[in-house]
């Protein structure tokens, strides 16, 4: 039986075997491609004319692959995002910099470099107290700009293709708290200024729950996955101990998870880079059904072991290494990685294949083609 792209994704996320592993390329904010790598890919495919209609995202640092490229690689997923609010404190600054709707300043080092948030609106405080949370303006969750046209665009995709649809929500409690307060500053607050950290995280969770409710009431019935993102891992360990996670952050993730599940029947996909193995049981408690990107070369993220320990409760989305294999490996190394993930993470279903992070500029087009063509052709059911 031939599966539609959507059926393939739905079955896989329901822990069932499929004819081949489902493929994502460009369906989420971390599975896209750098403009340079994309241009090289188009040249190798003989699709140069697609360069005329490149759709830049993230202020130009990544591009969304065109529909022609997605169909060429038989990609199963299409991603959507909430829109910009009508009313916001966002403003561009001199040079390559801007202030986002949370009041954080972003800069980049060169034209095609990724933007980095360099200063949060509460980062200057040395000993913050809960009242400081009220000292800055906060985004309005139910601004109609966030969902304008979203349903119509999804309905068009549903009628034009048979692909699975994922709604990507903005960052979650922890990443946004760090954006507002500063990366290291928030980590210190979790131990030294707990009342402030609690007030900040509570306020941010209010906002993101509001945005999620607005978006899911609009399109919750149309989607096959809802994706959230909160980075919590370094290369070697989680940002915080499981004990600190449970005392300071877990309740916010649990509340967000409840809001998501109350407003859609689609599974919740959570993105966190790095080594997060120690936190996975708690994430499952919070209603996470799928983790992305499965950074396989980080400590404790061995795919075989993850599947064995959590595969009954959790699906996996990602898994093709972007630090060594894609940029520096051979096409055969890439193909081996794809076959390996199909056999470990894909055993019994529960896996969608994608690069661990956005495909970086120097990744050879041969390796990108090897990744997708191997996934398309590796149809042997995993043993």
């Amino acid at each position: 039986m031939t599966l539609t792209h959507r059926e393939r994704v739905i079955l896989a996320l329901n822990h069932e075997e499929t004819d081949r592993v489902p493929i994502d390329f460009g369906g989420g904010p971390a599975t896209q491609i750098h403009p340079t790598a994309y241009s090289n890919l188009l040249a190798m495919l003989g699709f140069e004319e697609e360069n005329q209609a490149v759709s830049h995202r993230g202020e130009g640092q990544v591009v969304a692959p065109s529909e022609r490229v997605l169909q060429h690689f038989d990609v199963d997923v299409r991603g959507f995002y909430t829109g910009e609010p009508d009313v916001s404190i966002y403003r561009p600054l001199e040079g390559s910099a801007y202030i986002d709707e949370w009041g954080a300043r972003w800069e980049k080092a060169f034209t095609l470099a990724p933007y980095i948030n360099v200063l949060g609106p509460l980062q200057h405080l040395t000993d913050p107290v809960p009242a400081d949370v009220d000292s800055i303006p906060w985004p309005v969750p139910d601004d109609p700009g966030r969902v304008r046209g979203l349903r119509a665009r999804m309905e068009a995709m549903r009628s034009d293709t048979d692909c699975a649809i994922v709604l990507n929500l903005p960052n979650s409690t922890f990443a946004l708290s760090q954006r507002v307060r500063g990366f290291g500053e928030l980590l210190e607050d979790l131990l030294l200024n707990q009342a402030f950290a609690e007030a900040l995280q509570e306020r941010i969770t209010d906002v993101i729950c509001g945005i999620a409710t607005l978006a899911l009431q609009e399109v919750g019935d149309l989607i096959d996955g809802v994706s959230i993102a909160d980075d919590m891992g370094t290369q070697t360990q989680s940002y915080m101990s499981p004990d600190l996670y449970r005392s300071m952050l877990k309740k916010h993730h649990a509340r967000f998870g409840e809001v998501l599940h109350a407003n859609t029947r689609a599974p919740v996909i959570m993105h966190s880079d790095g080594s997060i193995r120690q936190l996975i049981p708690d994430l499952i408690d919070c209603g996470v059904n799928v983790i992305n990107p499965v950074q396989v070369n980080a400590e404790g993220m061995d795919p075989e072991k993850l599947k064995q320990d959590f595969g009954r409760d959790l699906c996996f989305w990602g898994g093709i290494d972007t630090q060594q294999v894609l940029p520096f490996g051979t096409p055969e190394d890439v193909a081996n990685a794809v076959r390996g993930r199909h056999r470990d993470l894909g055993r019994g279903g529960g896996y969608v294949l994608a690069s661990v992070h956005n495909i970086q500029s120097e990744v050879p087009p041969e390796n990108i083609i090897a990744m997708f063509e191997t996934a398309m052709s590796d149809v042997t059911a995993p043993v």
């Binding site: 470099a113 980590l187 210190e188 915080m240």
Partner: protein, 211 residues
């Protein structure tokens, strides 16, 4: 003085207590270098050991470093006066084109906590700025970080600039960052590579032949 009290304040991240203890000790005539080597260094050494073993995470490391820095800020200005020297001088930064600095900051604070003189140049540091700082500070080690695979080649460019300025033969070069490996260090002619902030201290000591 019972320097282990100061070590314990560092380990438990009590920055206010550490500053008070330090001021009191200095007022009583304790040599600042002795305070650093017997109080701060053992405290941060223990933090590094626990972090490497995975017993603690970044929040505990950061508050320990904050306590260490609160004490160091009082002790270090007096060292120049008394003419005592730190273990070695390190110039550190994230290479040109890369604005990431979290990993580099962690390495920087671990090195400072191990008793090295650290000049942190920040991020997006040009090869010329690395060279200028290395010349200015009588440097033993130039340490470079990169997180973007795109900016890894800038490490090689910086080494080339050190060679061109005839500084390379006087310094050791250390590199680190998520896409960086020992193989890359060998390939571009760096002297040392460390996986993380905790191991960076060990690599530095080995390169300089100090304890």
């Amino acid at each position: 003085m019972n320097f282990s009290e100061l070590s314990e304040m560092v380990i438990t991240g009590q920055h206010i207590a550490a500053a008070e203890w330090t001021q009191n000790a200095l007022d009583q005539g304790v040599e600042p270098i002795e305070l650093i080597n017997k109080g701060l260094v053992p405290g941060m050494d223990e933090i590094g050991r626990r972090w490497k073993e995975g017993g603690i995470h970044m929040p505990e490391v950061l508050i320990a470093a904050r306590a260490m820095k609160a004490s160091m800020a009082l002790a270090k200005p007096l060292i120049a006066v008394s003419g005592q020297e730190m273990k070695g001088t390190i110039v550190i930064g994230t290479v040109k084109g890369d604005l990431h600095d979290i990993g580099k900051n962690l390495v920087s604070m671990m090195l400072e906590g191990a008793g090295f003189e650290v000049h942190d140049l920040g991020n997006n540091v040009t090869p010329e700025a690395f060279v200028a700082a290395a010349e200015e500070h009588d440097t033993d080690i130039v340490a470079m970080s990169a997180l973007l695979t795109t900016t890894v080649p800038m490490m090689e460019a910086t080494i080339a600039a050190l060679v061109a300025a005839e500084v390379r033969q006087n310094v050791k070069v250390m590199i680190g960052g998520a896409p960086v490996t020992q193989a890359l260090a060998n390939q571009i002619g760096a002297d040392g590579y460390a996986d993380d902030g905790a191991s960076a201290v060990g690599v530095t000591k080995t390169l300089l032949g100090v304890d």
